[in-house]
């Protein structure tokens, strides 16, 4: 069997991945079907999500194959798989909506469900309407991580607390999802613009290395004396964080993981150091070393992820209380997304390093990308405005104040101001190309901080998501 496959490979090299992915999807669906037959219930949310995961996984593999080999045929089947995944995802959203009786925006789980749906839909739009075929290489892995994260979160339908029972909430959140999705799209387009604008691969090397290092330094803020890594304790039965007292989370220390993360941080920072050295010594050879260091860093990151996955489920001691307390992967979604995100960024860089010529051939021209980026922000900005206005109106109906300088509100306003700055620079000062692209990237970074950073780092009224 293995021999025949090896023999056939040269002749049907472009079909091999298709066949493998097709077989994989069929096999997984069959296994799922057996499971369903045993439990006798086909259309549950978990099953639908599982189906979506399988199809997104297949689509991701094919898009990645397209990104690496540039075989056009993969894209056709990849978008077919994306369609199938989107269908299952839509059914899951609809099921959720029907069971909960409100649009799925009320918890982190429901937000992720809607986010993945939006992402898949936008991928298809970008591919069909704008011809940005390679975009699935970026969005599909994100969708897969989203669906996997959902398995770790509380899934039961929560009734809405009184403050959330408002039509304006749904208006506000739908607008936020659309606006943020448009911002994400403008970010991806700005990156592609930089590729088409002949930005040097070395600059991407420095930027990706710096981004990954920043992620690891963020994780290292949880470093404990004697090399441990502090993570939140997790109550497996209640599927929630454990609390020492009201509002004070209980943290446990996983021994030795801190050292490992520190070492990996050094490994992922090495390419950036080499980049600086190359600039300082004016020596091209350092770039070659840097590229090798990226590869080593990638392996180190995979090691760190494996170690974290292996050790995150267990009971450990806490510095604040006596005894052993359990923790779980679900208790540290940010560390997990940091680790996975780092690997993903490094992979994207390697894709660029090895397949730059193919990417340049496949992407639209720099001018077109610049225009589309601007258009996307032209859609995002009014949506952001309406989102803030709807949120203010809702707050006024609920708390009697339309604006109270809550961190979430303030950061929404900052996001708005950043994009307002972009529009002014572009329209009145004629900023095009690189500078506009950098601005679009900055805007999306602020959006990400508003969405995640504020929720988890800064306290406030906006405690829902």
């Amino acid at each position: 069997m293995a021999r025949t496959r090896v023999e056939r490979q040269p002749a049907t090299s472009s079909s091999l991945l298709l066949v493998l992915v097709g077989l994989g999807i069929a096999f997984l669906l069959f296994m799922a079907f057996l499971n369903v037959v045993k439990s006798g219930n086909l259309f549950t949310e978990a099953n639908l999500l599982y189906a979506a995961l399988i199809f997104y996984g297949g689509a991701g593999a094919l898009y990645l194959g397209f990104g690496v080999t540039g075989t056009e045929r993969y894209v056709r089947y990849a978008s077919l798989a994306t369609w199938a995944g989107l269908l299952a995802n839509t059914a899951a959203v609809a099921h959720r909506w029907y069971v909960a009786g409100h649009p799925p925006f009320a918890s982190v789980y429901e937000m992720l469900l809607s986010f993945v749906w939006t992402l898949a839909a936008l991928t298809l739009v970008a591919e069909k309407k704008y011809g940005v075929k390679v975009i699935g290489t970026v969005t599909m892995p994100v969708a897969i991580v989203g669906v996997v994260l959902m398995q770790l979160l509380r899934t039961e339908v929560h009734p809405l607390v009184p403050a959330l029972q408002s039509t304006w909430l749904h208006v506000h959140v739908s607008l936020a999802m659309l606006a943020y999705a448009a911002c994400a799209l403008s970010f991806a387009l700005a990156l592609m613009f930089l590729i088409q604008d002949k930005m040097q691969t070395e600059t991407f090397l420095a930027a990706t290395s710096l981004a990954v290092t920043a992620g690891y330094l963020g994780i290292l803020t949880r470093f404990e004396p004697w090399g441990g890594l502090s993570v939140a304790a997790w109550d497996a039965a209640g599927k929630q964080d454990m609390f020492l007292s009201r509002g004070v989370r209980l943290f446990v220390t996983i021994p030795d993981l801190g050292w490992l993360v520190g070492l990996v941080a050094v490994a992922v920072a090495t390419p950036f150091m080499c980049y600086l050295l190359a600039g300082w010594r004016n020596d091209e050879r350092f770039f070659a070393i840097a590229n090798r260091a990226v590869f080593v860093g990638l392996l180190a990151q995979i090691l760190a992820l494996a170690a974290f996955l292996a050790r995150a489920n267990g009971s450990y001691q806490s510095p604040d209380a006596d005894g052993l307390f359990p923790t779980n992967l679900a208790a540290s979604p940010f560390i997990l997304s940091g680790l996975v995100g780092g690997i993903f960024i490094s992979l994207l860089y390697l894709l660029l390093l090895w397949r730059r010529a193919d990417l340049e051939r496949l992407l639209p021209s720099a001018d077109a990308l610049d225009q589309i980026t601007y258009k996307t922000i032209g859609i995002a900005f009014p949506l952001l405005t309406l989102m803030i206005a709807a949120g203010a109106y809702w707050a006024n109906r609920t708390w009697g104040a339309y604006w109270s300088w809550d961190p979430k509100e303030t950061w929404a306003a900052i996001t708005w101001l950043v994009y307002a700055g972009y529009l002014h620079m572009r329209i009145t000062r004629g900023w095009r190309g690189r500078r506009a692209a950098y601005f679009a990237i900055l805007g999306f970074a602020v959006v990400m901080f508003t969405f995640f950073g504020v929720t988890y780092l800064l306290p406030g009224l906006h405690a829902y998501a």
Partner: protein
Amino acid sequence: MAGPTRSIGRRIWQTLSAVRTGIILLILVVIASAAGTFILQRPTTDADALQRAYSPQMLAWLDRIGLTDVFHAWWFALLMGLLCLTIVAASIERFPNVWRFYARPYRRADSHFRSALPLQKQFPVRDPEQALAVAHRVFQKLRLRPQHIVEDNQVSLYAERNRFSLLAVYIVHASLLLIFLGGIVDALWGYRGFLALTNGQQASQIQLQSGATRVLPFAIRCDGAGQENYSDGTPKRWWSNLVVLQNGREAERKQIVVNDPLVFGGIRVYQSSYGSSGQLDKVMLTATPARGSGAAQDISLGQDQRAQLDPQTSVRLVRFIPDFVIQDNQIYARSNQPDNPAIQLEVTTQKAKEPALVWIFPQFPNVAHDSKSPYSFKFRDLRMGYFTGLQVSHEPGQWLVWAGCLMMALGLATAFYLVHMRFWAMLVRDERGRPALWIGGACNKNRPAFEQRLHRLLEEVQTELKQESPARASSREASLASV
């Protein structure tokens, strides 16, 4: 001469109206706002938490600079004021140009303009008059309203769409100022406070956030409040029946829930919280005669309420403790939650001079009753009194804010999605001096879509001209024949 002062004034004006100034102010506002989210803020964080978070010297400095209350600091207000000024100045500086463009549209394309316009086409024609009529027809067919422009004894066509989109930027900027104005009005004349009412209570004084109190121009009475729960025990709905009393008369009545406030005289009353007051509303008991064979009867008592058990005997509730503990032979209340209540009754009979005192502990039903009482009491149920927490706010500027939001939405939609498009058609001579129909178009955004539209127009003109010319030719032949 007032030369130097004028130049200083002009320099300030130029600085204010420069986009660069606006952007710098924007960046400063962003930095200040971000600082306001990272540094703990005064009114929302309590003093203890601030003292725990920062060292005394640090806190003193932060307070002095106003960083512990960024959004109410004078320099933040100054920044916002300057930002408003730059918006106004930049708008005034640029408005005359835009207005000229708007008020006097460029209707006739002269030769310079024609040579510079990127989107244009020329069709050779035989009969110029007829060609212009064709252009007119096609313009109308594509739902453009062509105007006949007569200049230098020559007729040309001009059509445009969405000219007012040129002014959209001003609508957006004006709406931003309107929103700021609303905020200023509320900061000066608005207020926000809290009021807690128990069932039946009425009040007109609210506690402001600053700690001061304020008397409302009317009183509010609570005629009942409650909470409904989901099956898992989380709150589903809080409601309060409120009555507005003005000069002692009932002026308005409404049941408010979260997200649906009562509005009276520009003042809004919101349902904000709900909780146990520790006061008893009613306790339900069964009284059975201790001796003899009287029937058992159900009674319900509020605090200090009396119920007649038989013509000679009555009972009164004298004490209620929601959550009791016994220490040193005394009964104390531990909390306001009715977890372990203690109820004391006073039974008065005409025969006995001294009333009998009876303690009831529902959690300990086996504790012996006072034998002096002619009745024994059995606990059935109790209802606690609740308070409803009301948020009261007066925001006279909010309508400006909503108007501003609406205006901004319209302005942005116009600015981004409505394209000012212009079309010109006129008769010219080509380089060899033969008559030609010249058609040109211009747009201010979304050029690809506009190019398609113009292309359609040009194709229509081409086909119409082709249909026209054989007909013309034949009619000319006919006219020649007639001659």
